[in-house]
């Protein structure tokens, strides 16, 4: 197991390097640079713009800029923002907590709503309860999270005054963003849980358990659901990336601190070091979550062994 983990961790290095290089070229292939973005307000002459490009190192050939960035990265330096000059590591450190908080809260919302509904739909399949859960799941998948967020703001903040919009450092401030982000994921979990459970509830070992006279809830929770968790955990791990992407939008809608707000502005400004740093951190988180999912397999299903 430990050899496997070491191997997986080592494999993340070329993956992250590939992501760094890809992001570098994607950012640099888009038209405009940071100086063009600053030009909007600074009203520089062509000469002043060139002077600034020179000072920021933007006139160097791409491979030189990439090499310089990689050398710093190896030393643990993510560089400085081209806008304001703050260290990227500091910017990320001050934002990542809020994004993880939102993503985890959204995941909790998705699991807490999605799994029971999916199980219920599977047990009561063919009934009105099943139909309602399928319809709810369809609606949940179809509604864009930013629209849902705006609707929730109108209802819960403006009309009812129950929840805050901008006080994003409190637990109450987390409710609406987490719900807006998590509901679409809940819909996906409902559908997958239902499909998995329907299949498992028809399996021979479940029939055998029932024939032994086990109580329904023991059959359901100990025998059926535990086996149904494997595909669900795989999917939840994969959805972590989707939630990180969704956080970009939701953080903007709710004026929340986080990597989403940071990276959105950085992309618009062509603030390459910040974009690069955020992508690198998000990719690392994604890779680590997937590794965690693989470890959880062993915990849930003792038959699985990594060598």
């Amino acid at each position: 197991m430990s050899a496997y983990l070491l191997q997986r961790l080592l494999l993340t290095i070329p993956i992250l390097l590939g992501i760094v290089i890809l992001t570098f070229f994607m950012v640099h292939l888009t038209p405009g640079d940071a100086v063009s973005a600053m030009q909007g307000q600074m009203k520089m002459s062509a000469q002043q713009m060139e002077q600034l490009r020179q000072a920021l190192g933007l006139n160097d050939p791409l491979h030189v800029q990439l090499g310089r960035y990689l050398m710093k990265l190896i030393q643990g330096d993510l560089g400085r923002s081209l806008f304001g000059g703050q260290p990227v590591a500091l910017l990320i450190a001050s934002n990542i907590g809020a994004t993880i908080q939102l993503t985890v809260a959204a995941m909790v919302v998705a699991i807490v709503i999605g799994m029971p509904l999916g199980v219920l739909a599977a047990i009561k399949r063919g009934t009105l309860c099943d139909a309602v859960s399928v319809i709810v799941a369809m609606i949940g998948v179809s509604i864009p999270s930013f629209w849902l967020g705006l609707m929730m703001i109108q209802l819960f903040a403006v009309t009812l005054g129950w929840l805050p919009i901008t006080e994003n450092r409190s637990a109450r401030g987390l409710i609406m963003p987490a719900a807006a982000l998590g509901l679409a994921e809940a819909a996906i979990i409902v559908r997958l849980t239902r499909a998995t459970m329907v299949e498992i509830l028809n399996a021979d070992y479940v029939r055998t358990a029932r024939a032994k006279g086990l109580l329904d809830h023991i059959v359901l929770w100990r025998h059926a659901l535990r086996n149904g968790l494997l595909p669900l955990i795989t999917m939840i791990g994969m959805q972590f990336g989707t939630l990180l992407g969704g956080a970009v939008v939701i953080e903007n809608v709710f004026a929340r601190q986080g990597l989403g707000t940071l990276v959105t502005q950085a992309v618009i400004n062509r603030d390459f070091p910040v974009v690069q740093g955020c992508v690198l951190v998000a990719a690392t988180m994604y890779v680590l979550v997937n590794l965690l999912v693989d470890i959880l397999y062993v915990v849930i299903d003792p038959r699985i062994r990594y060598s």
């Binding site: 405009g32 600074m42 062509a46 705006l150 109108q154 009309t159 709710f254 004026a255």
Partner: protein, 565 residues
């Protein structure tokens, strides 16, 4: 502020959903409203006073009902030190509370003393002498002196980064201390409008020695001399400023002699306009910027809020016309584009009658504005077609006009989020036989697309407080959002360059007015642009918020004298 009383009634929930879902529809159905009167420019800078004491009659009240103001802007700053900032408008909005300028200009275009209590200029406006206020302290307790001003100008001159106008930085020759309270600033070229430029919040006097010492970190822990001190910046969340209790040297513009009444200002940011508005309506914030046009009518009817529309001085929203690219290198084609543009339709359908039509390259708030332009072009698609036919552009088989085998193609460049009118313009041009395409860009890609010089009709607009700043949008050397030299080729470009330079250094107010009017006529006679509308900037705030002052560009607010009634 307290939120609305909670209600669990089903119908309130249903109503909220319906109201929300129909926001856009309700806006579309809004009836035309009388736009708030635009501020007018006095036409003359107030003569430099030796001192302007605050009067007791003008003074702000002794107390404020609430001590904390929450401002909700659109974009979070990258840096809030005037020297290191990147140019985002909210950077200046925050910095305007922390730093002070040598002079101030309010919405009536009146110039007031700031850190400079008096000033003199040489006859040719290249040497300026400022008398600096005494007793001023930086927020860290260090005395602010004449040397501080010299250090600032030298730093700004030698460093390209910072949001001060590039054109001004380029003409700073040097600065020197004459005596303890006097500074002399020497320019390489006449700058009759220097005071207007110095009143820009981006030209707040920064603490050069501190910036030299801590570098970019100054942007996240700024030290100024202004009415509010920096307290904390939670990235992505909020910036908090607190009252500077020692601030007793405020500009006479604030009509008060003591420190600010507000204890704290909190700046929060969201690029989502509906979120900003919802936060105001929920009572969470006191002031929101950039109110969406479609919501102005609705919010105005809410008795809890005051909505203010300010006509932003500068270059109205418009489309340049590239005189170096076919087919817009033909005068008739350019004129046809102007005649084909339905400004009234744009203003009604896209801006809900919340803006007013523009007729030339300069806002009507300026004394240099040329009113004769209002009669020069009207919406007349028949005339547009006639001009195109005279120029040899005949209807082709698919309705697009052709000449010598070439189709009448133009590309309109849109900066996403700012130029929503371009789609109506596109339809207008297609209606008279153009094959009009829209290229959508955003931020830096917009600057790049325009600067490439490959497109015919890029959309643009600019905000500035002095007619002399037309140079930055029209002179081939640039200093604008992009160098307009990319667009004006040949005789038109050379002639315009000479006219702009001549007018810019004109000292005599009447001569200057005439020269700028000639420039505007030249631009419109040669159909170098399609004027669309005068830009209004709508803000909404809690009714009980009083006493804040809007700057000369209409964009920035000073909260030193603000209070809650």
């Amino acid at each position: 502020m307290t939120p609305h009383a909670p209600s669990a009634r089903f119908w309130s929930i249903l109503t909220a959903l319906i109201v929300t879902c129909s926001l856009a529809l309700s806006a579309c159905g809004a009836s035309p409203q009388q736009i708030a009167p635009a501020p007018t420019q006095s036409g003359n800078i107030a003569p430099p006073p030796t001192s302007v004491p605050a009067t007791a009659a003008d003074a702000a009240p002794a107390a404020t009902k609430r001590a904390r103001l929450i401002f909700f802007g659109n974009l979070e700053p990258a840096s809030i030190d005037v020297i290191t900032m990147s140019g985002n408008v909210n950077e200046r909005q925050v910095a305007a509370q922390i730093f002070e300028t040598l002079v101030y200009m309010d919405q009536s275009q009146q110039i007031y003393p700031g850190l400079a209590r008096a000033w003199q200029r040489s006859e040719d406006a290249t040497v300026w002498t400022f008398t600096i206020a005494s007793g001023v302290m930086w927020h860290d307790g260090t005395p602010f002196t004449a040397q501080s001003v010299v250090d600032y100008f030298e730093y700004v001159r030698d460093n390209p980064v910072g949001s001060g106008p590039g054109a001004l930085k380029a003409v700073i020759k040097g600065a020197r201390v004459i005596d303890e309270t006097t500074v002399e600033l020497t320019l390489t070229a006449p700058r009759p409008d220097l005071l207007i430029e110095l009143a820009d919040p981006g030209m707040g006097i920064g603490y050069a020695n501190y910036v030299k010492r801590v570098g970019a970190d100054a942007g996240f822990n700024p030290i100024g001399t202004g009415p509010f001190k920096f307290k904390e910046w939670v990235r992505g969340s909020q910036i908090v400023l607190v009252r500077n209790p020692d601030w007793t040297w405020g500009s006479p513009m604030f009509r008060m002699t003591g420190p600010p009444l507000l204890e704290e200002i909190v700046f929060r940011f969201s690029s989502e306009a509906q979120t900003r508005l919802a936060a105001l309506e929920a009572g969470e914030v006191d002031f929101v910027d950039l109110l969406p046009f479609q919501d102005v009518v609705r919010v105005r009817t809410d008795p809890r809020f005051t909505v203010t529309g300010v006509l932003l001085p500068g270059m109205p929203q418009m489309n340049y016309m590239h005189t170096g690219l076919p087919p817009t290198n033909e005068l008739n084609v350019r004129k046809a584009i102007i005649y084909a543009t339905d400004k009234a339709g744009i203003i009604e359908s896209v801006y809900f009658n919340m803006v007013e039509p523009a007729y030339g390259p300069l806002s009507r708030v300026f004394p240099e504005y040329e009113p004769a332009l209002e009669e020069m072009y009207e919406y007349n698609p028949e005339k547009a077609m006639q001009l195109l036919e005279e120029a040899g552009w005949q209807p082709g088989p698919d309705g697009v006009r052709v000449k010598d085998g070439r189709r009448l193609e133009v590309v309109i460049v849109e900066n996403k989020g700012w130029n929503d009118w371009v789609y109506v313009l596109q339809a207008n041009l297609q209606a008279v036989g153009f094959d009009a395409k829209v290229l959508t860009t955003q931020g830096p890609s917009n600057t790049e697309a325009i600067a490439s010089g490959k497109y015919h009709v890029p959309a643009m607009g600019d905000v500035f407080a002095s007619a002399s700043q037309m140079t930055r949008d029209w002179h081939s050397e640039g200093y604008g959002t992009f160098p307009s030299g990319h667009f004006l080729k040949g005789e038109e470009g050379d002639r315009l360059d000479a006219m702009l330079k001549d007018a810019e250094s004109e000292i005599d107010p009447e001569q200057r007015k005439q020269k700028y009017r000639d420039i505007q006529r030249f631009i419109m006679e040669n159909a170098l642009m399609v004027p669309i509308f005068e830009l209004y900037f709508y803000v909404a705030h809690a009714n009980d918020l009083k006493g804040f002052i809007v700057d000369g560009t209409g964009f920035y607010k000073y909260f030193a004298s603000a209070y809650f009634e």
